[in-house]
């Protein structure tokens, strides 16, 4: 963790707090809403009219068989729709045909295909809308190129090659991605991150990366271009949110295979039904028509999940985008759900990044008020967060305020040599600093170290805190307890993660004693103290050897190898190019805490897929009870006993099943896009809950739905 991000996240910290506090079972959606409010970006409704209309046209465009074949289940429905349309045309001209029934079946089968296409189009539409906004940012800009001989020339952003050096002045747009090599500037990155507060970018260090399309607000910087034209971060971002390079993720692929297999089984079951029917006497005027067999086929094959599968995947990516996280592939989102170990940097992720004074402990015989006065005075000129926190503590908790620093006093700033800071008055001087330094200072003046100081210091260190000794003149007054403050709500979140079976490991540069104390307080499962990048890498490898998937965040160049090795590596947008290249996700808000949300979004996406698959398969039971009696009641009137729903007539039974089958897709689009409700619970409880809702619900729902449609159809007089 670098200073920069530490600073950043500290600023954001209190705001993340409410989102993280009192979160017992808070849904991701709500958290996203809080986030959207914060970033000031408009959160699109699940079904936004601006997206719906283009999606309607898109669903027709997606009828193209060559595109549709990627989705075997829906492709079969399209083929069947074509066949039933031909049968309809035949029946229109055929005496004794049943054009109304065949026509209606055909109509609804087409709708089944269109609804499935629509689901995908809506999911894509959300990304497309965002891509359009981004594209507006990408519009060609001019750039001032500095040639090796120092001369400047005007060129366009698209003409820039890797290694070119450009000068960007205040008010200008940075033409392409690169690293600042000279100067410092405040940059408005809202075009990419949605965050309106400007950020500082300067040469050298871990905040040198700038992104094309962002605007320099003050000063001027010299940037060395690091991206080829068309391959900038913005370009990749557009491609990602648009889903142009979307490939099936591993789980999606496996699910497609299963769905294709089920489709084959049902194809077989329906195809062989005709011989059995003929054997059973369904010949002549009782013959089972092709339309009915095809209707049965479409009702049985898993059209619901088949139609929604890709929408679920796109929506999962989109949910991340809404949270300002860019996943470089769907595979990464899926892997996020599988993560079993989270590596979290202590500073900025678990704690607020800076130590804060939490307690003043006076030495024997010293009043706490006096200690507070002196501690406050020693820090008045101290601009570090630690110093500010001492002043705040002394004033807020201990009521110190009275004394002003006398005129003519001299402030002694902190230096690496003395490891103390303080103030010199005429009469005496005040120092605060590390125990050893203060001890030496007291010794030099011939003072005495009070009994109990060492004990106090040791006990603070054991608690993971940092002791600062405060002395006035030759007298030690007491000790300030500085400690890392755990971000609000983190303890609960770690509890939730543990409930989900995810292990959290805190990474810190602190010594083991401090690390262990903070780890215990924060409630993480393990910690890696005095961590070097190599240690981090070793830890990741060890976890992976043990079959675990590891997620981590990072921003520095030295994080890059670990980010690449981790199964889910989230780079901070404020980080270096190297880190961003190595990671498979980039968090535009540079909020490392968001890693936890990423994991939850990944899980939610997988849950949605599983739940809708279960629902889809469970639906078939009712459809059999609708169609089988309807099919054979002519041959075997006794089979009407299986007509559990007491559907009005064979025609209405079959139509109802087909209509239900189509409508259920459209009704489930919001669920597919939003994701099933997510609660941080152990897998066993999640399973029981989802099995009940989507398994049992999947069996019961169509019985009710088909019956209702049957009532409507009967009322319309179609049967």
């Amino acid at each position: 963790m670098t200073e920069q991000t530490a600073q950043n996240t500290q600023d954001q910290g209190p705001e993340t707090g409410p989102g993280g506090a009192s979160r017992e079972g808070t849904a991701i959606g709500e958290r996203a809403a809080v986030h959207a409010q914060r970033t000031g970006r408009q959160r699109r409704a699940i079904l936004d009219p601006e997206i719906l209309w283009p999606a309607v046209t898109d669903s027709f465009r997606k009828l193209k068989p060559t595109t549709l074949i990627a989705n075997p289940v829906i492709f079969i429905v399209e083929v069947v729709s074509v066949v039933t349309t031909l049968l309809f045309v035949r029946d229109v001209f055929l005496v004794g045909g049943d054009p109304l029934f065949v026509g209606l079946v055909s109509f609804w089968l087409w709708f089944t295909v269109l609804f499935a296409n629509f689901a995908e189009a809506v999911a894509e539409g959300r990304g497309k809308a965002q891509a359009d906004t981004l594209r507006a940012t990408r519009k060609q800009t001019t750039a001032t190129r500095r040639l090796p001989d120092g001369t400047l020339e005007q060129t366009t952003s698209t003409a820039l090659e890797v290694g070119d050096v450009v000068v960007v002045a205040a008010g200008e747009v940075i033409p392409s991605d690169g690293d600042v090599i000279e100067g410092i500037a405040s940059v408005d990155e809202s075009a990419i991150t949605g965050e309106s507060a400007p950020v500082i970018r300067e040469a050298g260090g871990d905040r040198s990366a700038v992104t094309g399309g962002t605007r320099v607000l003050s000063d001027a910087i010299v940037v060395q271009i690091s991206a080829r034209p068309g391959e900038t971060f913005l370009d990749r971002m557009i491609a990602l949110v648009e889903g142009a390079e979307r490939q099936k993720t591993p789980n999606e692929l496996a699910l497609t295979i299963l769905l294709s297999g089920l489709t084959l089984i049902f194809l077989l079951a329906t195809a062989t039904l005709q011989p059995f029917a003929i054997y059973s006497g369904a010949t002549g005027d009782k013959v089972i028509s092709l339309t009915i067999l095809l209707a049965l086929l479409v009702c049985l094959i898993p059209t619901t999940i088949g139609g929604l599968l890709s929408a679920i995947g796109i929506a999962g990516m989109d949910r991340l985008v809404q949270r300002n996280v860019l996943a470089m592939s769907g595979r990464a989102v899926e892997a996020a759900g599988d993560v079993s170990t989270l590596l979290l940097d202590k500073t900025g992720t678990i704690t607020y990044g800076n130590r804060q004074a939490v307690e003043l402990i006076p030495m024997y015989g010293i009043s706490v008020e006096r200690l507070a006065e002196v501690a406050r005075m020693s820090s008045l000129a101290d601009e570090t967060p630690e110093g500010k926190s001492i002043v705040a503590l002394a004033e807020g908790v201990y009521g110190a305020r009275s004394q002003e620093v006398p005129e003519g006093s001299e402030f002694i700033p902190f230096s690496a040599q003395t490891r103390m800071s303080g103030v010199d008055f005429d009469a005496s001087s005040i120092r605060k600093g590390a125990a050893d330094s203060v001890r030496q200072w007291i010794d030099e003046q011939g003072g005495e170290i009070p009994a109990g100081m060492d004990q106090t210091i040791d006990s603070i260190a054991r608690d993971g805190g940092t002791p600062l000794v405060v002395a006035e003149g030759r007298e030690v007054l007491g000790v300030v307890h500085l400690k890392d403050v755990i971000k609000e709500g983190m303890v609960e979140r770690f509890g939730e993660l543990r409930a989900m079976g995810i292990r959290t490991v805190m990474i810190t540069g602190d010594n083991p004693v401090t690390a262990s104390a903070i780890a215990e307080e924060a409630g993480v499962d393990d910690y890696l103290a005095e961590a070097t990048p190599e240690d981090k890498m070793r830890l990741i490898r060890r976890e992976q050897e043990g079959g675990k998937l590891v997620a981590m965040t990072g921003d520095g160049t030295n994080d890059a190898p670990a980010l690449a090795q981790a199964d889910v590596g989230v780079a901070m947008n404020s980080g270096t190019q190297a880190a961003k290249e190595a990671a498979n996700m980039v968090d535009l808000d540079s909020d490392p805490t968001k890693l936890i949300d990423v994991v939850e979004i990944g899980k939610q996406m997988l849950m949605t897929r599983g739940s809708l698959t279960t629902f889809s398969i469970a639906n078939d039971i009712a459809k059999y009870f609708a169609i089988i009696p309807a099919m054979f009641v002519g041959v075997f009137p006794a089979l009407d006993a299986l007509n559990l729903m007491r559907l009005e007539s064979p025609v209405s039974a079959i139509l109802s099943a087909v209509v239900f089958n189509a409508l259920v897709i459209i009704l489930l689009i919001p669920l597919a896009l939003r994701g099933v409700s997510f609660r941080a619970l152990p897998a066993a409880q999640v399973l029981r809950r989802n099995l009940f809702v989507y398994g049992i619900g999947g069996i019961v729902a169509p019985f009710i739905g088909i019956k209702l449609i049957d009532v409507v159809i009967t009322a319309l007089g179609i049967s």
């Binding site: 299963l258 297999g261 409930a499 079959g547 398969i617 078939d620 099995l691």
Partner: protein
């Protein structure tokens, strides 16, 4: 269910409750690679066999080699058994001078016994010589069962090993399963059965004068030795045409219960073995639970339905209620010494275990009572299934269940810590697809084909049940015959033979491929986020998946067969 049903079921469950842990633990030791009880006796014999056959017992096989060994071994067995039947007339132990078996029938029978199906298109006592029965059929009863166990054990190894290339050695598994498991139990079992009244001799037909003065041909033969392995190995091929309804094969209710136990003991115990080898007994218990639920429900349903009276016979002189001299219920086609409880329990066990033995005429069961054995087979032999095949079949369903529902907990589905990905799903889909394809396509052709239709003895829905039953039985390697279908024609000899071959090897190969694929994978440690597979919830899910997948495949044809028949009646 009647009191008799409850008593029989309870006795059986008690016997299984004792045998499952004992036998399961023993098998875990036999196949776990560690020291096993009886090493002092068996180890030298095994070493002898390995040396004789040139087997390196330490040489582990990758899944392809394992599968090749299974298929090659079985192919040699089919060929050998075929030839034996074709020359039996000229060989010894042929007291009744039986002729050679016709070639199509010999093919069907060879395939039938090697695939552990034991579909019999012949009448045992009048077709097979004692030599063919003992050196051919009985040997296959042992080794075909051992093959099933070997494949199951290989799958369990694949699931439990980490980053391994191999899944064991087929020849070693085959030898150990036969020598350490089947032979000892068969030996004790056969002696027990002889003690309870089964015959064991080398006689041919004995002509006797009956009390009424007529003459009767009484068959003889080495029955007990064949009977025990027929059941223990879930083979089902009877020595006599009457199978276990014949008094020499199954003389009394005690032997009946013992025979039912013999069918169930290994399939149930293998789940215990699985739990032990997986290092988590609950994994085995969850699978066992699913098998028990399916088996008990099937048995209970049939016993109950057969115990009720036949509505068609009401108002006739037939007594269908229980009296001092009659058990009551639907007694048509049942032995009076077994009655509806003993017959229903036997029928559902024999169909649920892929044994296919019969002690009653399933054709004469009530429509729904007869549908249960049919559905039992359609389930793919997992209630509890054949020796080995039951476990691997159920594990494939478990993988499917994990995949369908596992995503619901928000992780890539895992079974025993092994990620279930596209490769495994493909193989699972192949596994569940093969049998329905074979059954529905062959049955579909048979009901339309004139020559095949001619074999159907009963018209209408019942005839459809007969045909579907035959192919279901063959493709699921059960061998149970519904009767009412003349199976001995060329069409049925060939197509049923093919159905048996496809149903055996086109399933074993994907199973071994799954074993090989998951063996290579790393193991994800269990955590609270892991989809739990050792719980009652999973048992329930597994049962639901089996019923739904099978139900959705076969409901249409069931509706036109037994269901409509029961509704019409």
């Amino acid at each position: 269910m009647s009191l008799g049903s409850w008593v029989q079921l309870t006795v059986l469950v008690a016997m299984l409750a004792v045998s499952t842990p004992l036998l399961g633990t023993y098998m875990a030791k036999v196949f776990g690679g560690v020291k096993a009880p009886g090493d002092r006796v068996f180890a030298p014999i095994e070493r002898g066999i390995y040396r004789l056959c040139g087997i390196d017992p330490e040489g582990e096989q990758r899944w392809r080699a394992y599968a090749t060994s299974v298929v090659a071994f079985s192919a040699v067995c089919v060929l050998g058994l075929f030839l034996l039947q074709r020359v039996q007339a000229w060989l010894p132990l042929n007291p009744d001078d039986l002729p050679n078996v016709p070639s199509f029938l010999a093919f069907n029978t060879a395939v039938s016994f090697v695939t552990n199906t034991n579909w019999q298109n012949y009448s045992g006592e009048s077709t097979m010589t004692h030599l063919t029965q003992m050196a051919g059929l009985a040997v296959q009863n042992f080794v075909s069962a051992a093959v099933g166990i070997a494949v199951a054990v290989a799958l369990v190894r694949g699931l439990t090993r980490r980053r391994a290339g191999t899944i064991g050695n087929f020849w070693v598994d085959l030898t150990r399963a036969t020598l350490r498991l089947l032979v000892p139990i068969a030996l004790v079992g056969a002696l027990t059965l002889v003690g309870l009244g089964l015959i064991q001799n080398f006689s041919g037909f004995t002509e006797v004068a009956t009390v009424e003065g007529a003459t009767q041909q009484i068959p003889g033969g080495p029955v007990a030795s064949q009977e025990v392995i027929k059941l223990l190995g879930t083979n089902g091929g009877g020595f006599f045409n009457g199978n276990s309804s014949h008094p020499f094969e199954n003389p009394n209710p005690t032997t009946n219960i013992l025979e039912i136990w013999l069918m169930l003991c290994i399939p149930f115990a293998l789940t215990w073995t699985y739990g032990r080898l997986a290092g988590d007994l609950r994994q085995g218990l969850a699978v066992l639970g699913a098998m028990v639920v399916l088996w008990v429900s099937a048995a209970g349903l049939t016993m109950w339905m057969e115990g009720r009276s036949n509505p068609r016979l009401e108002g006739t002189a037939v007594t269908q209620v229980r009296t001092d001299t009659a058990t009551g219920g639907n007694m048509e086609g049942k032995e009076s010494r077994f009655g509806p409880p003993g017959s229903g329990l036997f029928a559902t066990t024999a169909t649920g275990t892929s044994t296919g033995a019969v002690n009653a005429m399933h054709d004469s069961f009530t429509p729904l009572g007869g549908m249960v054995p049919l559905v039992n087979m359609m389930l793919g032999e997992v209630s509890p299934g054949g020796v080995g095949s039951g476990l691997y079949g159920m594990l494939v369903f478990a993988i499917l269940a994990v995949f369908v529902a596992g995503l619901m907990v928000g992780r890539t589905p895992e079974y025993l810590g092994k990620k279930i990905e596209a490769g495994e799903v493909k193989l699972v889909v192949l596994y569940i697809l093969i049998v329905p394809v074979v059954v529905l396509v062959f049955a579909g052709i048979s009901v339309l084909l004139g020559t095949a239709r001619a074999s159907i003895l009963n018209p209408g829905p019942h005839g459809l049940s007969e045909v579907v039953y035959a192919y279901t039985s063959a493709a699921n390697n059960n061998g149970s015959a519904f009767a009412g279908l003349t199976g001995g024609t060329d069409w049925y000899n060939i197509t049923l033979g093919l159905a048996m071959l496809f149903g055996r090897f086109l399933l074993i190969v994907p199973v071994l491929a799954i074993a090989g694929a998951v063996a290579q994978k790393n193991h994800t440690p269990m955590s609270l986020g892991t989809f739990p597979t050792g719980t009652p919830t999973f048992t329930g899910l597994l049962v639901a998946i089996v019923l739904i997948v099978v139900g959705l495949t076969y409901i249409p044809v069931l509706a036109l067969g037994p269901i409509v028949e029961s509704l019409v009646a």
